[in-house]
Amino acid sequence: MEKHYTGSQVKGVSTGTTILAAVFDGGVVIGSDSRASIGGEYVSSKTINKVIQVHDQIFCCMAGSLADAQAVTKAAKFHLSFHSIQMETPPLVISAASVLKDLCYKNKDELQAGFITAGWDRKKGPQVYVVALGGMLVSQPVTIGGSGSTYIYGYVDAKYKPNMSREECLQFATNALALAMGRDNVSGGIAHLVVITEKGVEHVVVPGDKLPKFHDE
């Protein structure tokens, strides 16, 4: 999380990354890998948590520069807590996503980041929103992001089903992260997952040696 200028095009420490979120019957799972690297040459942290809490039942993940991630989520946390005090009710997931979208859209020239926001609110239940590079906001049942996501588009398309159970969705997310980490050299480490339901929030950490292994490992 420190800045090292190595002459590469990437400014500061960047998260070559795999992030994902998926809706299941009664909640959402949001997860990421844990590797932070500089230009793909040096792993500066093996265990960083890229799933950031912006409110009690709303989490977000970011793909892009770590410095941007920290700055933007700090601003979003502030906006959201102020908003929820004014409204006297916990914020909606779409509000959290909109706050991030505004920050991305207004600073689109400086920021190079994509966000996934997932959470639970009383109005619409479990939801996943994705804010793409230029500031587009879209709701999807399942979404992936980061450099490692390229390799798991096929897997996610084939294996995601709406209304899965909590265990099925957790297994799906763990498998997808493990597959992406297996192919992308800038994603790796452990899998951080957060399960958000009406009842609350649960963190699941899957260490490297407990990740599912596939045929060639």
């Binding site: 096929g154 398309d157 192919r183």
Partner: protein, 216 residues
């Protein structure tokens, strides 16, 4: 012609941005490809068969620059014909792959094509060889082309040793369908070739007969 005036596709290099896959089973191989050929943003051929025969029971799958890939396949086809006359019997798959590798390696700076070679021979049964950039390696299955990035996770998860012919064909069709729906440079129809001791069977699966997934 190759200048700024006139339609874009005249001055863009023609690539088979592609998805290709080959997989071996006990007794043969299955190869599959999509059918889209693009020049920049235009699709210049939507029904091209990228599975090219090198010999009766040896096929290769083309990806990368269309011209380079086709030329390599034709050259190797010729060289294999001569070789098989010299040895007086059908050539080995490894020989075909080595010929492809020799060309890819020698001209690696000039060419930008990747061929997957797969087939059946009497000595080692079904075999799949990858020849990317001049290496040669035998693998149980190989994927290539621009669309392959999107399906690495899927093939890693779904491949099992010991699949039979029908399983392999279904695996190939599913993989192609997933890649074609995500990669802008892959699309059209799916061509499947199944090679075993007794026959070489070519099949086409039209766009609307391909498997669909939850968001389609």
């Amino acid at each position: 012609m190759l200048d700024g005036t006139g339609p874009e596709w005249l001055s863009e290099e023609v690539k088979t941005g592609t998805t290709i896959i080959a997989i071996e089973y006990n007794g043969g191989v299955v190869l599959g490809s999509d059918s889209r050929v693009s020049a920049g943003a235009s699709v210049v051929n939507r029904v091209m068969n990228k599975l090219s025969p090198l010999h009766d029971k040896i096929y290769c799958a083309l990806s990368g620059s269309a011209a380079d890939a086709q030329t390599i396949a034709e050259m190797v086809n010729y060289q294999l014909d001569v070789h098989s006359m010299e040895i007086g019997e059908d050539p080995q798959v490894r020989s075909a792959a080595t010929l492809v590798k020799n060309i890819s390696y020698k001209y690696k700076e000039e060419l930008s094509a990747h061929l997957i070679v797969a087939g059946w021979d009497r000595r080692d049964g079904g075999q799949v060889f990858a020849t990317l950039k001049g290496l040669i390696t035998r693998q149980p299955f190989a994927v290539g082309g621009s669309g392959s990035s999107y399906v690495y996770g899927f093939v890693d998860a779904e491949y099992r040793r010991g699949m039979n012919k029908e399983d392999c064909q279904q695996f190939v069709v599913n993989t192609l369908s997933l890649a074609m729906s995500r990669d802008g440079s892959s699309g059209g129809v799916a061509y499947i070739v199944t090679i075993d001791e007794h026959s070489t069977e070519e099949k086409v699966i039209l766009g609307n007969d391909l498997p669909t997934f939850f968001d389609q």
